[in-house]
Amino acid sequence: MARPVKILLAGEGGQGVQAVAEIIAEAAYEKGREALYIPNFGIEQRGGVSLAFVQVGDEPIGPPRFETADLAIALSDRAVVRSRPYVGPETTFIYDSSIGTNHLPQGVARLVAVPAIEVSKKELHPRVFNVMILGAVIGLTGVITVEEAKEAIERRLGHRFEKDPALRELNHRAVERGVELVKGKL
């Protein structure tokens, strides 16, 4: 049985990882693939680390949570810690290079730092930080194409882009920049 690609995204409340997860899953679904996305949630309304489990494949997806991610992306120190139970020898583990963390997992397939926070701040805008992350995921996994990602963004934010076409431009650049960021990192 062909296994689905398993992606874990982890970040602080405001970092927008759930939106990224949803976009990926939905885009994959729209493209006719099987997809499943589930956020973590707990007792607090805010304040905890936000985890998103995404799976994309060609056969119906199994359990909603997986034991080991193929790709894990952690965007803060606490996120690194919360991601570790889902990381194994097959995992590509991506983290933002700006976070000072002593908790990086050992024995993973690949451990990759990307300067996403910095790049988004300097080159683009902090508000499209998560779109860059989306680009990075695409770049690393190919679960959806850049085009499909852009369409999915359009479905979500199209009404806003109508008023502010520059925003569309910004988002597109962010996806592409995200792909670039991880190019050659595998």
Binding site: E12, G13, G14, G47, S76
Partner: protein, 82 residues
């Protein structure tokens, strides 16, 4: 007991200290300050969002301290008769 690292600003009427480790950046203090002397800071608070800092004109009324749900502000008024 944990020691907190406040950022203290001397104001005309006293001192104004913000504890970014405690500040969640809710902005209640900013909105409530009668003198509108509080503003967003470039240091980050507990959740990685901007904290606050005092600017000119603070009258050390203590309102910001009083309404902060996280005890992230301490305002000390200079003793009057000194």
């Amino acid at each position: 007991m944990a020691e907190y690292h406040g950022i203290t600003v001397e104001t005309e009427k006293g001192t104004h200290t913000v504890f970014p480790e405690l500040c969640k950046g809710c902005g209640l203090c900013i909105a409530k300050c009668p003198k509108k002397t509080l503003t967003w800071a470039d240091y980050l608070g507990a959740y990685g969002t901007p904290s606050v800092r005092v600017t000119n004109g603070c009258n050390a009324c203590g309102t910001c301290q009083m309404v902060c749900p996280d005890c992230a502000i301490v305002v000390v008024r200079k003793a009057k008769a000194r």
